[in-house]
Symmetry: C2
Subunit: 147 residues, 2 copies
């Protein structure tokens, strides 16, 4: 009982739970044959929608500088997940869209995330799971908002 959760700061419980989720996602992606995606890649990828986004918009949504988002986008383009083209309406801008491969990846990610959440719901029971989400959201809304 040295690591009794009741003795741990709540922040520690939060971060460990978060990392557990991350690792689940990553290892399940690997089981499905995708090994070339990092968590920060995923953090960029997940903000795209079907119509494509301008790089600057993408950066803002992902909470990154334009430079950081640009570097990751270039890397994901190299790996075949994204298409980065000149924007047709704005000669300065670039438009980022999924390739077929990227579309498949993000769908896989979404379904894995959904499965993990389902698993959590099963473990905790529907009510406690909803309470968990609600409580986290409550604590969140007391803090300055982002994204």
């Amino acid at each position: 009982m040295k690591n009794d959760p009741d003795k741990q700061p709540i922040a520690r419980l939060m971060i460990l739970a978060f990392r557990g989720f991350e690792q689940d996602l990553l290892s399940q992606l690997k089981e499905h044959g995708t090994c070339d995606i990092t968590l920060s890649d995923f953090n960029v990828l997940r903000h795209l929608d079907r119509e494509g986004l301008q790089l600057t918009t993408l950066a803002r949504h992902a909470g990154l500088s334009k430079q950081a988002a640009g570097k990751i986008a270039k890397e994901l383009e190299r790996k075949g997940y994204l298409r980065v083209e000149m924007d047709k309406e704005d000669g300065r801008a670039k438009s980022v869209t999924y390739t077929k491969k990227g579309q498949k990846l993000i769908e896989k990610c979404i379904s894995i995330v959904r499965a993990i959440e389902q698993h959590y719901e099963t473990l905790l029971g529907k009510d406690k799971y909803q309470d968990l989400r609600a409580s986290l959201a409550t604590l969140l809304n007391m803090a300055p908002e982002k994204s």
Copy 2:
């Protein structure tokens, strides 16, 4: 309602809640006049106990390599929070202890953390707060254990 918490992956709620806590802690430390501590410093500091720890043990507890822990310990020694001495029983080892200043800092940290947790408990109500802790702990125990 674009950022409806109900639509967000639970992992996102977790990480945002965690960061909110971190920022609270850091900014309250600043209000109390301590500006020279980073979050990774704190992550090392918090594992020490009064009797002092061997550097390698400290590293293991903090979940870091010996090198990383050593560098942070050296930095914290320079700032006056830690004392790093040769171990009297083992000529290879170093023993890390709090200085008076470090002791005061960690006590301040503990009291801030306690205050934040109190605040959370007030926001959510005692029951929901305990449920939150319990649910996080449940999800955690499904994952491989650390530290």
